[in-house]
Subunit: 332 residues, 2 copies
């Protein structure tokens, strides 16, 4: 296997987040389940936007957040995703490149706008998302940069992309390409409802070719249709080489190589906005793992990155994570 | 004089702020003077944006921030300004309406985009702005809602609008309309360089029809071309009914009715981003003054609002200012 030019290449929806505060009453009124992500159409996103308070626009997208986090740690990272030739598309491309990520996709022409996600943040810091998938699902096989995939030590995929048939096909081609080149493949389950929609296909993919599986408690329980986190975790251990499972305030566990490594959550003074916590956890872990660090250190980097992201609004790091981790003595 | 339906109507540039961190070296490289606002063309804004790190997009605009702040205090506020039918225009209209401001302008069609300002925030919290004036300067006389002006106790104008001949003419018509209806007129000088560009006209306007003049130290010194703040302040006292002069960390003074009222700065733990400090100071003062509160209390509300806005990114209040001021016992 040739040396990889990149530590990680991510494939995911390229999304701009519109983040606003909301109270519990508004969630009840619109019938939203707190902490979930729901796909909505153009009419519904317009209606929900009108209900919401003043917002802040920040680049987002689950795998894109992870890739930005890896670059912030000093990792060599690249991203494959589609944006339109509109204001939000220009913002997305600028922001991801400004942090040093290789992002070669041109602004796509067409009628669909750049994808956006309305993120309602309740006073407890939890986020509830409504995503209007515009052009980001137009990720056909011809848009895949296979050379980039062959040149990356790890291919990282976001489960959300399974929601669109075109993107799903690209997903499978990307996995085959990475495997043939001797690379590792990582998958994030993204969301419990996303798992519900694609359970059988996710299980097939995980059992046949995923090296590293990222999931939170509700996602892994949904995948194995059990109320027991312990049972779900043991199933994941059997199905993948490495299962990385997060449990919010209870920390996380990493199962693999016949071991179970527990990672304590990082202490934090105030949770401002949990948007991106899972994405940045994956960033820290993948950066450490790609650089050959131990599961313990990779997990610690994961936990550190998550703690940074929930201390402010938005799902992209506010400070360079490399310095953040150095200041805490985790890397040199 | 009939009772006013609105406490304040503001006229200004409708702008979306693109806020990003930057170091002192970048300011030196692009030759920017820290703390200033410079107008740039489409090419230059594109070049500067490429130099800047990842950004956050938040509705802004000087007078628009002030008006949003007045609404946040529970005041009846309205805004006159122009946005285009693009993503930034929709964001601006949504955000200002979501806080309860009357904003009736339709999304304008035309080739110019919604105006935007690149705001570079240095580690000390100071902001340096580069503004690309798109459609917001298309504020012709026919776009002025004269009925709205007649129905507002105070007309508030941002000095920046003097940079465009069309908008300047609208400005004078708005002042005449307000005066004829027996209303008060307030003006913010906006920026030292803006004063340099229009000194004679500003002085004419101030001496002929401004009831309340807002300026910071560098603006008032520039207006009267003196290095002495005390001399400048005495000149302002002679030229207007009420001069409200801010001095950053040194607090502010209000000169009028033969009195000089000193307002201490509000203690604050950390200055995150000074964007909007002057705008929100004006909001607190105008809200108090329009409601018949004393100069002391109006000044205290001004100082409180400024302290809230510099404690976070962006120039719009993150919490309702009415509650913020109630919690501190300044209003009931």
């Amino acid at each position: 296997m040739a040396d990889a030019r990149y530590d990680v290449v991510g494939i995911g929806n390229a999304i701009v987040d519109i983040i606003g505060r909301c109270d519990e009453a508004l969630l009840a009124k619109i019938g939203a389940q707190k902490g979930s992500m729901r796909l909505v159409d153009a009419d519904e996103i317009t209606r929900l936007y009108a209900e919401m308070g003043a917002g802040v626009e920040i680049s987002g997208g689950s795998a894109a957040n992870t890739i930005a986090g890896i670059a912030s740690f000093g990792g060599r990272a690249s991203f494959i995703g589609t944006v339109a030739n509109d204001e939000f598309g220009k913002i997305f491309a600028h922001d991801i490149r400004s942090i040093g990520v290789t992002f070669t996709a041109p602004l796509a022409s067409g009628t669909a706008p750049t994808s956006r996600s309305l993120i309602l943040v309740t006073p407890d810091g939890e986020r509830t998302m409504h995503t209007f998938l515009g052009i980001s699902t137009s990720l056909g096989e011809k848009q895949l940069d296979l050379e980039l995939i062959r040149n990356s030590a790890i291919l990282y995929l976001e489960g959300y992309l399974f929601d669109e048939p075109d993107a799903k096909r690209s997903f499978h081609l990307a996995v085959q390409t990475a495997k043939s080149a001797g690379r590792k493949v990582a998958l994030s389950l993204s969301d419990g409802f996303c798992v519900d929609r694609h359970r059988a296909e996710f299980l097939d993919l995980i059992r046949s070719g995923i090296d590293i599986l990222f999931a939170n408690e509700s996602e892994i329980k949904s995948l194995y249709q059990t109320e027991s986190f312990e049972l779900a975790a043991e199933s994941a251990r059997n199905d993948t080489k490495l299962a990385v499972l997060t449990r919010s305030g209870k920390g996380s566990i990493i199962l693999g190589d016949g071991r179970t490594v527990s990672i304590a959550p990082e202490p934090i003074s105030e949770v401002v906005d949990t948007t991106g916590a899972g994405d940045l956890y994956a960033a820290g872990f993948l950066f450490g793992y790609a650089r050959g660090m131990s599961l313990e250190i990779s997990g610690r980097l994961a936990s550190l990155a998550a703690s940074e992201i929930i201390s402010h609004i938005g799902a992209r790091p506010a400070v360079p994570l490399q310095q953040f981790a150095r200041d805490r003595g985790v890397i040199s």
